[in-house]
Symmetry: C2
Amino acid sequence: MVSEVIPDIIVSRLPRYLQALQRMHQEGQSTTSSKELGGRLGYTAAQIRKDLSQFGEFGKQGTGYSIPFLVSQIQTILRIDRMWDILLVGAGSLGHAIANYNGFTNRGFRIAMIVDNDPDKIGKKIGGFVVQDIKNLKNQIPGSGIKIAMLTVPASVAQVVAEDLLQVGIQAILNYAPVPLSLPENIYVEYIDPLIQLQHMTYYIT
Amino acid sequence: MVSEVIPDIIVSRLPRYLQALQRMHQEGQSTTSSKELGGRLGYTAAQIRKDLSQFGEFGKQGTGYSIPFLVSQIQTILRIDRMWDILLVGAGSLGHAIANYNGFTNRGFRIAMIVDNDPDKIGKKIGGFVVQDIKNLKNQIPGSGIKIAMLTVPASVAQVVAEDLLQVGIQAILNYAPVPLSLPENIYVEYIDPLIQLQHMTYYIT
DNA sequence: CATTGTGAACGGGTTCACAGCA
DNA sequence: TGCTGTGAACCCGTTCACAATG
């Protein structure tokens, strides 16, 4: 049960489990089974049980899982049982949309700082924050506790900006720029690129 | 070489290959190897070769792959050797950002119609388009050639709106709403949910 | 009796290694 | 010689099936 290294593919499913469980909780449900949870998400019951069993024995035979308990366990595993501050890099239209999005806060994240390198944008207020000069990263980020950045800069500068982020101690980057980042192993990068997904879907359209 | 069914995981890598190849092309390069392409993207050379070999013999021993040729082949495979019209559902702040994004057009996609159900938004112009009433879907979409929708509506209505899309002949949905959609097999759904990805990353932050 | 946790079997994707060819 | 295309070996994640149990 207490495993050495958990395969990343299992970790990647936990947020989905959590999302579904929180929805069930909202709907007033207090208990679920691997079968029901799997049904909602398109996974088999065995997969749910196998995944969860990597972290402990959270269920009870015959009755299934307590939703509040399982939510709390997964939050602890994912380390979102606390608030994470996020640095938003890039104050273009995408940066605006993200800054104005209010769905982060009740899920454990909050935008803490917005930076850009465009003099026209620096000093402007978006989503309740004043856009700061990207040159301030060196002074502001180390010691701030900010470990996560969202990158919404143009593709042409994404790599160099990412290297700057690395320098100031950022450990995880959610990259909206349509380029693969080449960074050391110890920094975790995920990508959001609608074009990649659209191009994937067209393969299947009849 | 001409296979029956290509595993989806292979199809899902093709857009990434294409992106990297187009970048190399922009940089003036005319030839590449599986080793170089893999290096850029974090895949092994063998994987690149194996994947491409599912669709044909695109390379030459000793010299590698012609970039323009390979780009053209992958575009054909993914069926993005033409323009795809997209229906944007939801004219909130995310919908705005997407409508104003100009990166789709030169990659084979274009927003063709924007709908919402909010009377305050209907009739307003965003990204060069007048927001139309979602009730017009029935008249406008069938026969329009629009097969793809981007869904940026609130989570609470995503499922019902998705079912409406199904009714009017949409075959692929890029879902920005943070809920799993339960739809028939013949409709292809992909998800974009930054919170899921953030919650995944926090697991690895020290 | 319904449902979990899990060892074993299975399946399929990745890597290896090399023949083949420009 | 350099690099592709590919069968075979390997590895790892998923599914199966069942003992255990509230």
